[in-house]
């Protein structure tokens, strides 16, 4: 049976892994290469790296870091942040990344999704989205897409954007709830389920994981295909193996040998 993927997320700033709450108040946690090796050997199924300041500093992604990650781990990893052009996508993939994640860029320039998918294959184009809850009736799903780390609203409805991205050729969608991000109070289950059951491509839940129970919920009730975790493992509170043992005990299929 296809197993549910557990994906540690490494937010990288100046070659250091960092973590904040709702995109603010970041503290440094360690070296991205060392952490990638530790998580890979610890049994994670995939990794994602976000160069979180590349966009704001208007510089390209740290490609040398991507190369180094590719040399030391041999499981899939995605890279996002600072991707502006098809050439940026190509450089990241050629450096050894399995997937490239686009977020703000996709909102500003949706055709780049279609073009990237056509040139490099749908499986390596990931749409990252940061929806925020809203009561505004202009958004039928109840969520509006934000970009630039919640700093900017887009006027896009989260569900409509997900379906449109699928039509454009995205291979996977990461749903990162702005409301839940960094809170460690659990994933946004309703939102995850809404998107995952409305598209035919894999959907990855992100934001809010604090305990293994939160992952059990997002796989069972949220219908997620994969789940991103950060603080709960970065702080050393849980290991990947502990999380997977609890998931397996609850009947969630996970990879047990590595």
């Amino acid at each position: 049976m296809l197993t549910k993927r557990i994906i540690p997320c490494l937010d990288v700033r100046n070659r250091k892994v960092t973590k904040g709450v709702r995109f603010q108040g970041n503290v440094d946690l360690g070296d991205p290469i060392e952490m990638a090796v530790a998580y890979s050997e610890g049994g994670c199924d995939e990794l994602v790296f976000y160069d979180i300041t590349a966009s704001a500093e208007r510089r390209p992604i740290d490609i040398e870091m991507v190369r180094e990650v590719g040399r030391v781990i041999h499981i899939p990893f995605a890279v996002g942040g600072g991707i502006e052009t098809l050439d940026d996508m190509y450089r990241v993939l050629l450096a050894g990344a399995e997937k490239v994640s686009v977020n703000s860029l996709a909102v500003h320039n949706p055709s780049i999704i279609a073009e990237g998918s056509r040139q490099f294959g749908a499986q390596c184009i990931v749409l990252g989205m940061d929806p925020v809850r809203t009561d505004d009736p202009r958004f039928p799903s109840g969520y509006e897409i934000t970009i630039r780390g919640f700093r900017e609203r887009t006027g896009l409805d989260a569900l409509e954007w997900a379906k449109r991205a699928e039509d454009l050729g995205v291979g996977e969608i990461v749903v990162n709830s702005v409301d839940a991000d960094g809170t460690r109070n659990g994933y946004e289950l309703h939102l995850t389920r809404l998107i995952s059951t409305s598209v035919s491509i894999p959907t990855v839940a992100s934001g809010g994981a604090g305990t293994p129970q939160h992952l059990i919920e997002v796989f069972n009730e949220g219908a997620a295909d994969a789940a991103i975790i950060a603080s709960m493992v970065h702080t050393g509170e849980y290991t990947i193996a502990q999380i997977k043992n609890e998931l397996a005990a609850a009947g969630v299929p996970v990879r047990r040998t590595w």
Binding site: M1, L2, T3, K4, R5, S40, D45, G70, R71, H74, I75, P76, L93, L94, A95, G96, E98, F120, G121, A122, Q123, C124, G171, E172, R193, S196, T197, S198, V199, S200, I201, P202, T203, F219, N220, E221, A223, D225, A226, R255, R256, T257, W258
Partner: protein
């Protein structure tokens, strides 16, 4: 002399294959030159993407006859993902694509209509009830017989998959491993003389995948 030739036919990113081989200390070269492929001690035929474009590129590069003769010569040959699919006779992809035809059988698309078992545990309105296509992630491979390339790898080990189509050999004796997805038990590993082929990505499957590549790099092509 090229130790391992990785065939480049513009079908996706070959970096991960090269990096995995470098990690286990195996010298390799990415090439689209027929003479280099023919001279190699071993050949890896990877690839992601669509069968139609792949066959077109292989034809344009003059690699179809190369692949046929390298397999016929007894050189250890490893197909991965799309590389595995196009060594069959026919793929359903791109409205039907005639392929290289080294292994009898065809490549079929997963049916999206079967109900996912996970949906039964869920409450609330069900909008999409099918399996996600592509299959993306780690799934178990149950070995149906021993093979030198699988030495030291336990049956039931999980490997990384990304695909919407799956191999269906017409001769079941070529099946070495099986995997279940979307209501079918498909051939995820195939062995035919000096040819070994996987639907999964050993280069992306961590320690177990590296073990498989290491076995291949030492295999003499006999069973």
């Amino acid at each position: 002399m090229v130790v391992v030739a990785i065939i480049d036919y513009k079908a996706g990113n070959l970096t991960s294959v090269r990096l995995a081989l470098e990690h286990i200390g195996v010298e390799c070269q990415i090439t689209d030159q027929p003479d280099r492929v023919l001279a190699a001690e071993r050949v890896i035929f990877p690839g992601v993407g669509a069968a139609g474009a792949a066959m077109k590129n292989l034809r344009a590069l003059g690699l179809i006859e190369t692949i046929k003769s390298v397999v016929a010569s007894g050189t250890p040959f490893l197909g991965i993902c799309l590389g595995t699919q196009v060594i069959f006779e026919f793929s359903e992809e791109d409205g039907g694509t005639p392929c290289i035809g080294i292994v009898p059988g065809s490549v079929k698309r997963f049916a999206a209509h079967s109900t996912r078992p996970t949906d039964r545990t869920c409450s609330g309105p069900k909008v999409y009830s099918g399996w996600k296509i592509p299959q993306m992630g780690w799934n178990a491979v149950e070995f149906t017989r021993p093979h030198p390339v699988l030495a030291g790898v336990a049956s039931g080990s999980e490997f990384y998959f990304v695909h919407s189509y799956y191999p269906a050999p017409s001769d079941e004796s070529y099946i070495v491993g099986r995997t279940e997805y979307a209501g079918v038990s498909f051939a995820s590993a195939i062995g035919k003389d000096n040819l070994f082929a996987t639907q999964f990505h050993p280069e992306r499957s961590g320690r177990i995948g590296l073990r498989l590549l290491e076995n291949f790099s030492k295999w003499d092509g006999t069973c």
